[in-house]
């Protein structure tokens, strides 16, 4: 078995190897027609894409390479159906109908496999190292944790990929981010990602594919790497990746849509060739001292507005330029915070543990372990939304749901819920939410809602204390 390769002797990055292997045809000027190995479809963009395709009198070229599940516009309320959130019912039924017509496998509500697309893909082994994968969702970069080139697309590119199983793309530059050293106790992948974005800014990754490396990344389990890759788009990068290693291979073994038997051995041998070559050149390199990163939360309205939990809120007077000063002031006004104050101790109204950033079994285990018999503060409404039906069932098998319920958390059904807030699940104007999701934009969790992005540990600490709290001191 020979791995696909291009005739080049130069040392190549992980990204280079995967990209080169998928070029169907070079289109000149740095543009390539790239083959897409997997396509994930959800109720919001997938339904629209399948409709668009039908209106253009086109058909799905490779339905066997596409997998669908409803997640964005469905309710997460216990006992929900596809119609519980009335505004999403048309999309839900559309996805079911159009995937059936096209011959695309759908994981429906209540079935193992259903869940947030980027939880579903890896968990079922649909995404594998060395693949190219797209979805009409910017957090598709999450799947790069397995060593795939995975990225979000808009509606037109989605339709293009359904019709042709390819995309017309300009090759991005490569950025390697090394996290040196080991993270401290109580600091996780979410903290590293937020600290990175705070350091480099929310547009540093624009035009780049990011490869994450270094001791802290090697030490991470695959699910934590997904959290890290998930926030690549908040750094501006459409693609984030981690080179496959023994943990990746072990993660995929036995997953229902991963290869089995001899095919697995052949695939794994290929996967082990994908890591960047010694001496491979990256257009940009950054290093972060992982051991110096503290539990990190956002204070403002961009993911770059992130700070250590025990630091003081920035003062617009200290901004680097007028635009930043204005942005910081607007963010403080929207968030109802004062410069130079402590973030710790800020009273919160709601806590949301979920989203494609942090809703996997390891996240829920971490959250449950911190509770230790305590209860959610009286004034806080706290939700746990598992990332998938499989995560939900596995957590229930471990009785994690009992731990959460006993502490006063609401245990809900899998979906995007309050992260995308396209499903009726929003915070009220002015409500302050500590959220394990990935976007703290103005109005993201509802008009006027104030979002603090955080790790599952910081979110649990906030729920129990009723205020933003250092999870290590709690």
């Amino acid at each position: 078995m020979t791995a696909p390769s291009t005739p080049t002797a130069a040392a190549r990055t992980l990204f280079d190897k995967v990209w080169d292997a998928h070029v169907v045809q070079s289109l000149g000027d740095g543009w390539d027609l790239l083959h897409i190995d997997r396509h994930l479809l959800h109720d919001l963009s997938g339904t629209a894409g399948l409709r668009d395709l039908a209106e253009r009198n086109l058909s799905v070229r490779n339905p066997e390479l596409a997998f669908a599940t409803p997640d964005h516009a469905v309710s997460s309320a216990p006992g929900r159906t596809g119609e519980t959130f009335a505004g999403g019912a048309r999309l839900y039924h559309g996805l079911k109908l159009l995937t059936r017509r096209a011959g695309i496998r759908l994981f429906d509500l209540g079935q193992p496999g259903q869940g947030i697309v980027h939880v579903m893909g890896p968990e079922l082994g649909i995404v594998q190292p060395g693949m190219t994968l797209i979805c009409g969702d910017s957090h598709t970069c999450t799947n790069g944790a397995l060593g795939a080139i995975a990225f979000g697309v808009g509606s037109s590119e989605l339709t293009h990929a359904l019709a042709s199983q390819t995309l017309v793309l300009r090759r991005p530059h490569t950025l390697r981010v090394r996290f040196d050293g080991r993270t401290r106790e109580g600091v996780g992948a979410k903290d590293l990602a937020l600290a990175l974005i705070a350091r480099l800014g929310a547009s540093a990754g624009t035009g780049f594919a990011v490869e994450y490396a270094g001791e802290a990344v090697s030490a991470m389990e695959v699910e934590q790497r997904m959290t890290l890759c998930n926030l690549s788009i908040e750094l501006g990068a459409r693609i984030g990746m981690v080179a496959p290693d023994d943990k990746t291979v072990a993660y995929l073994l036995g997953r229902p849509h991963a290869p089995h038997g001899a095919a697995f051995a052949a695939a794994a041998a290929h996967w082990r060739t994908l890591a960047g070559d010694t001496g491979a050149v990256y257009a940009r390199e950054e290093r972060i001292d992982a051991a110096a990163v503290e539990p990190t939360l956002t204070w403002g309205t961009s993911p770059e507005h992130a700070m250590a939990v025990n630091a003081r809120i920035p003062d617009p007077a200290d901004a680097a330029n007028a635009a930043q000063q204005q942005a910081w002031q607007a963010a403080l006004d929207y968030m109802g915070l004062a410069p130079n104050a402590r973030l710790e101790g800020t009273r919160v109204d709601r806590v949301f543990i979920g989203s494609c950033a942090n809703s996997r079994l390891s996240d829920l285990r971490e959250a449950a372990a911190l509770i230790r018999g305590r209860r959610v503060a009286q004034h806080v409404r706290a939700w746990i939304v598992p990332g998938s039906e499989n995560v939900k069932r596995a957590a229930q098998d471990e009785r994690l749901d009992d731990v959460f319920r006993a502490a006063g958390f609401e245990w809900r059904e899998p979906g995007c819920s309050m992260c995308v807030a396209a499903n009726g699940e929003q915070a009220a104007p002015g409500e302050r939410v500590v959220s394990t999701s990935n976007r703290n934009f103005v109005g993201r969790q509802g008009p006027g809602a104030r979002t603090h992005l955080a790790s599952p540990a910081s979110a649990v600490a906030a729920a129990l204390a009723g205020a933003i709290t250092d999870p290590r001191s709690f």
Binding site: P4, V24, Q25, L27, D29, L33, H35, L44, L58, R61, E64, G87, G113, Q128, G130, M131, D137, S138, G152, V153, G154, S155, S156, E157, T159, H160, A163, S164, Q165, T166, V168, P172, S203, T206, G207, I233, G236, R238, P256, H257, P259, H260, A263, F264, A267, H270, S302, E304, A323, A327, A330, A421, A422, P429, R439, F441, V442, G443, P447, G448
Partner: protein
């Protein structure tokens, strides 16, 4: 797709960095409205006050710029969500050209699929362009000559990928052109079935109902 050749009209300055696609169009509007009806909801969080009334401080609510087809933004315009509805909302609002220091990658790609021209300029040129967004000033953006004539009479040249420029001038999206390459795609797939059989569900994996 409507071709883009020359655009004349007012230019509105929106000197804010990191304007994300949630701010350009809220997701709820996309689940409930047709794309041509999105115009009134573009920049909803910036345009309207909590009581529902227009915020007179927002540039697109001010008479000289209500119909402006050109927007001069800051850094990282269109970051965040992949929703192409952000481009549809701009189009429905009459905006055909956005000039910025940088763009979110997905938004940037989406513009070209809808006949919207995103122009990247260096920070010093952005500052000049924002200052030239004066009331009553008429601009011209000419894609053929890759030149912007600002309201103050100054001109700025801009770069654009030749492939993208050609498609915009002709009003072509990518699909038709790619489907002409069907044989090359079939050949690639045939090779890949041999090289990586495990990738192909019907040959190497046995998905079991779980």
């Amino acid at each position: 797709m409507q071709p883009f050749t020359v655009l004349n009209g007012a230019a509105a300055a929106l000197p804010i960095d990191n304007v994300d696609t949630d701010v350009i169009i809220r997701i709820e509007r996309l689940t409930s409205l047709a794309r041509d009806d999105l115009g009134p909801w573009a920049f909803e969080a910036l345009r309207y006050r909590p009581d529902g009334g227009e915020d007179p401080a927002f540039v697109l609510n001010q008479p000289p710029w209500r119909e402006a087809p050109i927007l001069v933004a800051g850094r990282n315009f269109g970051c965040g969500s992949s929703r192409e509805g952000a481009v549809w909302a701009l189009l429905a609002r009459g905006i055909r050209c956005v000039i910025a220091e940088s763009f979110g990658d997905i938004f940037h790609a989406n513009c070209f699929q809808n006949g919207v021209l995103p122009i990247r300029l260096a920070p010093e040129h952005i500052a000049h362009a924002q200052a030239a967004c004066t009331a009553g000033a008429q601009w011209t953006v000419d894609l053929r000559s890759q030149r912007i004539t600002l309201g103050d009479g100054g001109t700025l040249r801009f770069d654009i990928d030749p492939l993208r420029r050609e498609a915009l001038l002709e009003g072509l999206d990518d699909i038709g052109r790619t489907l002409r390459l069907g044989d090359a795609i079939a050949a690639w797939q045939a090779r890949d079935r041999t090289n990586r059989p495990w990738i192909w569900p019907d040959t190497a994996t046995a998905p079991t109902p779980i």
